[in-house]
């Protein structure tokens, strides 16, 4: 075990997989200088400019060329720099990467990881702050992962690189500096799919992912002071999501809250809430609650940006309401 940051954990994952498999390579803008967030720092020295490829600012072709390179047997790690920029490459992600295996009757696979730094970070305004993970859960053919801990960022990214299907890999920009214990073992993997029980509790189940896990943990401390014992499920992978863990937790607590930084309307929280309502209405003692952002573009000015954030206080208030029932 070593204590390293979320950013370093991602960097280690790429390096280890590139050492293990010569068909793995990374491409995107500014990777030769380590990537805009340092998540490729030093890799060009070990692997050279062919495998840590600096590309033109051509998101559609970064994505489309990766589809072609994946179809012929390489494993591209695609860096989108900001999740918002992946929108320049939606045809290549949704019409090409996600569908090639199916449309071609299983003749070919598209093993690529699409790294999308997401979320609100340092007043980045409406085009550099979005959390769009829900869009991708809607697309057949895509796996969607959104790790919170540094260990998960290493283990899930390694699994994503080894996955034979395209993986949308959401890293929260506010997490880059987050430190935690990470296994040094080259074979450390976190499987795509299973959630992580971030906190055990008896009264309310809170399902969340990415940076919101940390916010939920702070809220759980506040709730504990009020005598409320929250259970936190860190989903880690959004598609497929771990229904078993969520159902087991709701069976125990009989209350569910889903929390995400993304806009609440049409967010992935709605899918979880609806699924639990369809299968477990008889268990619930309080209405399911969703906490997400208002359906507003993200402001630049800090107080306006902060208005959209989910805070520990908002979570606590919701938990208190649920405990009234």
């Amino acid at each position: 075990m070593s204590v390293i940051s979320y950013q370093e954990a991602g960097c280690q994952a790429v390096a280890e997989e590139m050492r293990r498999d010569p068909s793995v390579w990374a491409l995107g803008e500014d990777l030769g200088r380590g990537g805009v967030f340092g998540q490729y720092r030093g890799l060009i020295d070990e692997f050279g400019p062919e495998r840590i490829a600096d590309t033109p600012i051509s998101e559609a072709t970064i994505m489309g060329a990766s589809v072609g390179a994946a179809l012929v047997g390489t494993r591209p790690v695609v860096e989108m720099r900001f999740a918002d920029f992946a929108l320049c490459a939606v045809d290549e992600m949704v019409n090409q990467a996600a569908k090639a295996r199916f449309m071609f009757g299983g003749q070919a696979r598209v093993p690529m990881v699409i790294r999308q730094p997401s979320g609100m970070w340092r007043s980045s305004a409406a085009q550099h702050s979005q959390s769009l993970e829900a869009w991708y859960t809607h697309i057949p053919g895509l796996v969607v992962a959104a790790p919170y801990t540094p260990a998960d960022n290493k283990g899930l990214l390694k699994s994503a690189i080894r996955c034979d299907d395209p993986v949308i890999y959401i890293e929260h920009k506010d997490n880059w500096a987050l430190e935690g214990e990470v296994p040094d073992d080259d074979d450390f993997l976190v499987p795509l799919g299973p959630a992580r029980l971030a906190r055990e509790g008896a009264d309310v189940t809170l399902v969340t992912w990415s940076k919101m896990v940390g916010v939920a943990e702070q809220a759980a401390e506040l709730a504990a002071e009020k005598g409320i014992d929250m259970e936190i499920v860190d989903l880690r992978t959004l598609w497929p999501w771990d229904q078993d863990m969520v159902f087991a937790s709701v069976e125990k607590t009989k209350r569910l809250m889903v929390v995400h930084e993304a806009v609440q309307v049409g967010g992935f929280g709605a899918e979880i809430a609806a699924t639990v309502a369809e299968h477990m209405a008889h268990v619930l003692v309080a209405p399911i609650r969703r906490l997400g952002a208002p359906r507003a573009p993200i402001s630049y000015a800090k107080p306006l940006e902060d208005l959209l954030r989910i805070t520990p206080a908002k979570i606590l208030a919701t938990a208190l309401e649920q405990m009234q029932r």
Partner: protein, 337 residues
């Protein structure tokens, strides 16, 4: 600008021209069978016929190895046949039947045959350009000796991936031949009416590619020029660009009567049809009419048989709707559903 003046079509070997003619005739016969099946309601979806454009497919692919790869478009049947895909599997695919190239799940616009290096047709204009570029990039990374040919039409040059993909190929010095089939139309709009500047070759040259033009209805000219370009690309000469001027003798789809074009002009194009021209050349080289007729009837017979077989074949088992989506998170097939 390099041009095709140095590549007169009339020095071609007769046997090679016979082979090219046969490929073109098989493409034509396939398209005619597909057109009939579409109009008879046996083939669903949109069917985009390449009737009139056969010389480009035949002349280019005759210069490729099996291990070389191509991407093509919604109008891609000819490229598939020329690259070696079995027309029987293609016709099954058009009919949505078991045994189709994609198991009946792709249809006309998504035919692929990785065994022969056919990396997929595409339903999105210009989308094959980055994919071809990436296939070449992957080959270069893996140290494979491979050329990738990317077919697209003049409608594609107004989409962003055209500029991005050509630039990318130049920057990474990739072994790609871009082939722009200039059939004069962007869907049902005249290409010239919606294209600014000097057109495809000017754009390609501005991005650092050597750009050539060829009479795309002269199969020997296409064959000759591409025969010069492919070894240069294979030898590390970087990406190159070829505009082949041709004509789409049919509408955008099988059901489009193409009334938006000058009907006299359109009718006259049948006289310079690549098959008519190649047949004339073969006669000049001494091939007997009976030999030509034998090629024609063999092709017609082959494609009539594949259409009959496709009509009689079974549709795919229902569980294939949920197969080959993704390893984890795909819907689970239940026979009762």
């Amino acid at each position: 600008m390099p041009n095709d003046a140095a590549h007169p079509s009339h020095n071609i070997d007769r046997d090679r021209l016979v082979d090219l003619y046969r490929t073109m005739r098989r493409i034509r016969a396939f398209e005619e069978a597909a057109e009939k099946a579409s109009l008879d309601g046996l083939v669903g979806g949109a069917v985009h016929l390449s009737i009139g454009q056969e010389a480009v497919a035949a002349g280019v692919c005759a210069n490729l190895r099996r291990t070389d790869q191509i991407t093509t478009t919604h109008r891609g049947h000819g490229h598939c046949i020329a690259k070696g895909t079995d027309p029987g599997a293609m016709m099954l695919e058009l009919f949505g039947k078991e045994g189709g190239t994609c198991g009946g799940k792709g249809g006309s616009m998504h035919i692929a045959d990785f065994e022969v290096g056919m990396l997929g047709a595409n339903g999105v204009v210009a989308a094959g350009i980055p994919i071809a570029v990436g296939a070449a990039h992957g080959a270069k990374l893996m140290g494979e000796d491979k050329v990738v040919v990317c077919f697209f039409g003049d409608g594609a040059i107004n989409r962003g991936p055209f500029m991005e993909g050509l630039n990318w190929a130049t920057v990474f010095k990739l072994p790609v031949l871009f082939v722009c089939e200039q059939n004069g139309f962007a869907s049902t709009t005249h290409s010239d009416a919606v294209t600014g500047g000097g057109g495809a070759n000017a754009r390609a040259e501005s991005l650092g590619l050597e750009a050539y033009e060829v009479d795309g209805n002269d199969v020997a000219a296409v064959d000759g020029l591409v025969g010069d370009l492919i070894p240069r690309i294979r030898g590390g000469g970087g990406p190159m660009f070829l505009s082949a001027r041709t004509y789409r003798l049919k509408g955008h789809t099988s059901v489009d009567p193409a009334l938006y074009r000058d009907q006299d002009h359109a009718a006259a194009q049948w006289d310079v049809d690549p098959l008519v021209r190649a047949a004339g050349e073969l006669r000049r080289l001494g091939l007997a009419d009976s030999d030509l007729a034998a090629i024609d009837s063999a092709a017609a017979g082959e494609m009539a048989r594949v259409a009959e077989t496709a009509e009689a074949a079974e549709t795919p088992a229902l569980q294939h709707a949920f197969a080959d989506i993704q390893d984890i998170g795909a819907p689970v097939w239940e026979s009762s559903s």
